[in-house]
């Protein structure tokens, strides 16, 4: 790869990293300047059907905490001590005015902290539409898809009310096409990471993917298409590192420094980081009813996480599939501190990996953690135990 191309790739990655780490949300503010009167819809982790907000001309933005980049000065007095950090810093973004651009805030029922966040948000920001989007929790009911289609219709009415703009089937179809393209590009990004991890470190893949949650998807598509051409031309060489799957990043995000230290010793060949962006694993089809297609895709063409019970996707079996399909040698089982579903699932995953004699490392993290020496030692010891086994 030529120097100019290398520089361009490095520049794009750096700009994505800056964007993800900048809690003043420059891309959102720029969008607002370019779209006077444009509305921004915030949504909490994990999955949100952004196509519906996009079709109404809104900018959907993922609210995913703030890591250690801000201090939860005000939020601490609103939330108990036993609550995860992502909830706390997400609220701080609102209370401190950093996310003052939001016209609405939606949380899915991924856990009870997330559902409570809708109430807390509503009490503190009465001018915003704060809602729980009740994604179906009985994924195996024959009636779930019809119900979800109705729930999406309700969301569509909400965003139409917020924007004062009616959306048509054509608008929705156009947005679905944009997002289908985005998901295809993300799948390509992950394919590269899986097949040639020495060309695409996880921290880079992560910031490239995460940036999409903060900018219009059309812009993100262009960005991804550009880097996907540049990455294979890189001149990196395969090194003797352990191929691992990282599991436990579906909601609260591990600090970049933590991912960095893992990949100093490992190739992270697959993961569930920001899985909501990649929740739908195939193109959303076109049956003539876009809301139905989105609902069906959520249920039937989707990945897995510990916050969804679906008999068709037993989680241990899904983890093993991820492990096998990525050609991994080991698993890093992480859980965010105070995350009930994550911590519960860790136990089940641990047992199946024990049964299969698959090496794994348990890690507990918090988005705001800063000291990594102990974790570094744990990872290094883990890797050495595999390499020299």
């Amino acid at each position: 790869m030529g120097v100019a191309a290398q520089d361009r790739l490095a520049e794009v990655v750096e700009s994505c990293r800056d964007l993800v780490e900048d809690m003043t949300f420059p891309s959102v503010r720029r969008w607002q300047q370019e779209h006077p009167g444009g509305q921004v819809l915030g949504h909490f982790q994990v999955y949100f059907p952004e196509e519906i907000a996009h079709a109404a001309g809104m900018l959907p933005v993922k609210i995913m905490g703030a890591g250690g980049r801000i201090e939860a000065k005000q939020a601490d007095s609103h939330i108990g001590s036993f609550v995860c950090s992502i909830c706390r810093t997400s609220l701080e973004l609102g209370l401190s005015g950093r996310a003052g651009f939001l016209g609405g805030f939606y949380t899915p029922p991924i856990c009870d902290v997330a559902r409570n966040l809708a109430g807390i948000w509503g009490r503190n920001f009465p001018d915003q539409t704060a809602r729980i989007l009740y994604l179906p929790q009985n994924a195996n009911s024959r009636h779930a898809v019809t119900y979800l289609r109705e729930e999406y219709a309700r969301l569509a009415r909400d965003v139409e009310r917020m924007t004062g703009r009616a959306m048509t089937e054509t608008d929705l179809r156009r947005s679905i096409a944009v997002y289908n393209e985005n998901r295809r590009l993300l799948r390509d990004l992950y394919r590269l990471k899986r097949e040639t991890p020495w060309l695409l470190p996880t921290t880079e893949a992560y910031v490239l993917a995460a940036a999409g949650s903060l900018m219009p998807r059309e812009e993100h598509n262009r960005l991804l298409a550009d880097v996907l051409e540049l990455i294979p031309a890189r001149s990196g060489r395969k090194q003797d590192r352990v191929r691992v799957v990282f599991e436990g990043g579906f909601c609260e995000q591990p600090p970049l420094d933590m991912l960095q230290l893992i990949e100093e010793a490992c190739y992270v060949v697959d993961d569930d980081l920001l899985i909501g962006l990649r929740w739908i694993i195939e193109d959303v089809p076109d049956s003539g009813d876009a809301l139905f297609d989105l609902a069906q895709s959520y249920l039937d063409r989707s990945s897995y996480t510990c916050i969804q019970h679906d008999e068709r996707k037993p989680k241990e079996a899904m983890l093993l599939r991820r492990f096998e399909e990525s050609g991994a040698e080991a698993v890093i089982l992480a859980a965010a501190k105070m995350c009930e579903p994550g911590m519960d699932e860790q136990v089940a995953y641990q047992r199946v990996l024990d049964e299969r004699r698959i090496p794994y490392l348990l890690l507990e993290f918090e988005e705001k953690m800063t000291g990594f020496e102990r974790m570094r030692m744990e990872v290094e010891t883990f890797v050495e135990s595999i390499l020299f086994d």
């Binding site: 009870d112 559902r115 409570n116 509503g122 009740y134 009911s141 779930a144 009930e340």
Partner: protein, 439 residues
């Protein structure tokens, strides 16, 4: 606040304490039946206090085992730590819900519980009213390979959002719930090998109608001064009966008797303390690991809990009564489960205005929030709700943190300091208010 003088005891005073005595007796019977089921292999459904679907399960003669009640009983009997340690040794974090861990500890000990042996589950039903329920049932699914049914009850979407039968949105939700109930019935038929009998369902629904009407009346009787029962004391026994005997003739009769007892207590002006100085509304679960001491710290100040949000949601949402329409049983069941489910969840996520109304209607002097580490469902929004009520509605409120069943998280000294300070301020406030009136 004027305190009614107790009138002399009457010949009917033998009914005093009946609710507690009968409740304790029936609980023993209930655990004995579970113990027998464990021996005989009779069908048992594991269900939760919020959204048990007892109406349908009783129509198939399932025994009901409530993991939350089983877990809290380990704390009441002061052995919860043994179970918690076992689950933590198995791999569960100290930050995981202690109800879950107490239950896991028991299952790892072959379901030996202080109240008897518990049966294996033939079927598990969880609602989404607490998300941890869904994680919890997956543990049994793995341990026993039993069928799991998640009954999804979509709740209130946000503050100021309302939904009533007949609304387009409500009907969409109701159809979803009704469809799921039909699927649950199919599953019950498969598990038991017995056909569904709609008249059995009507029977259990009729019993719930009676129970709910009386329970709602019992709660309202606590609007009297003095309150005839402590909502966080004996109230919890009454609440347990709502779950354990929901849909049964025994449960309905018990609640009718309880109502009679409470009406009598009100008639003779009998409260729970020699002098009822403070009336409180509780938000949050009980502190079962230090149950008696928790109540004493308040009783020492002459304070009684006249109501509790806990009784509303953990009592299966029957606090405002239910009237099932037996002419259209499944549709009505879906409608009422949805309405009570929505209200119960709103009690946790969007409760601020309702809390202020309860304080007014039950003549409470303030609110006590008891946040528990184990239950982020009920506890996450408490600090914010408290701040809102103090700021927007002028309601005095105390915030305490501990746990339901993990004794390691209860600090008596910290509790006492906070409680004492709260009552000193509350006393001064009442005095100032009284002086204001006198002027």
């Amino acid at each position: 606040m004027s305190v009614k003088q107790a009138t002399p005891l009457s010949p009917r005073d033998e009914i005093l304490g009946r609710g507690r005595r009968e409740g304790n007796r029936l609980f023993k019977e209930w655990y004995a039946a579970l113990h027998t089921a464990a021996e005989t292999g009779e069908h048992t459904a594991y269900v939760f206090v919020m959204g048990s679907a007892a109406e349908i399960l009783k129509a198939f003669d399932f025994h009901l085992s409530f993991p939350e009640i089983n877990a809290l009983q380990t704390a009441v009997r002061k052995v919860s730590l043994e179970y918690l340690n076992r689950a933590e040794d198995y791999g569960y974090s100290t930050d995981v819900c202690a109800y879950v861990k107490a239950d896991v500890g028991m299952h790892l000990d072959e379901r030996r519980h202080p109240n008897g042996r518990l049966p294996r589950p033939s079927l598990v039903v969880a609602t989404n009213m607490c998300n941890t329920y869904v994680k919890w049932v997956e543990i049994w699914e793995r341990l026993y390979g039993c069928p799991v049914f998640v009954l999804d009850l979509p709740g209130q979407r946000g503050i100021g959002w309302s939904s009533q039968p007949g609304d387009e949105g409500f009907e969409a939700d109701r159809r979803y719930v009704q469809g799921q109930l039909e699927e649950l019935i199919e599953l019950c038929e498969t598990v038991t090998g017995r056909p569904f009998q709609v008249d059995r369902l009507r029977e259990s629904m009729a019993n719930v109608n009676r129970t709910a009407a009386d329970w709602s009346a019992v709660l309202r009787l606590n609007q009297n001064v003095p309150a005839p029962f402590n909502a966080m004391g004996d109230g919890l026994t009454y609440m347990g009966m709502l779950s354990a005997y929901r849909g049964t003739e025994t449960g309905a009769r018990y609640m009718a008797d309880l109502r009679e007892e409470m009406e009598h207590r009100v008639a003779v002006g009998l409260g729970t303390l020699p002098e009822e100085r403070f009336r409180l509304h509780a938000v949050g679960t009980a502190c079962y690991s230090n149950f008696r001491r928790f109540l004493e710290l308040f009783a020492d100040w002459g304070a009684v809990f006249v109501n509790s949000e806990y009784l509303a949601y953990a009592g299966g949402g029957l606090d405002r009564g239910i009237q099932f329409d037996l002419e259209r049983p499944l549709e009505s069941l879906a409608e009422q489960l949805l309405l009570t489910g929505q209200r119960s969840m709103s009690n946790m996520f969007f409760s601020q205005d309702q809390l202020a109304d309860t304080v007014r209607d039950w003549k409470a002097d303030g609110i006590v929030y008891h946040a528990v580490k184990s239950c982020r469902t009920v506890s996450t929004g408490m600090a914010d709700s408290r701040e809102y009520l103090i700021r927007q509605r002028g309601v005095p409120a105390l915030f305490l943190e501990s746990d339901m069943v993990d004794p390691r998280l209860f600090s008596e000294a910290q509790f006492k300091n906070r409680i004492d300070a709260f009552f000193e301020a509350l006393g001064a406030r009442k005095l100032a208010a009284a002086r204001g009136v006198a002027r």
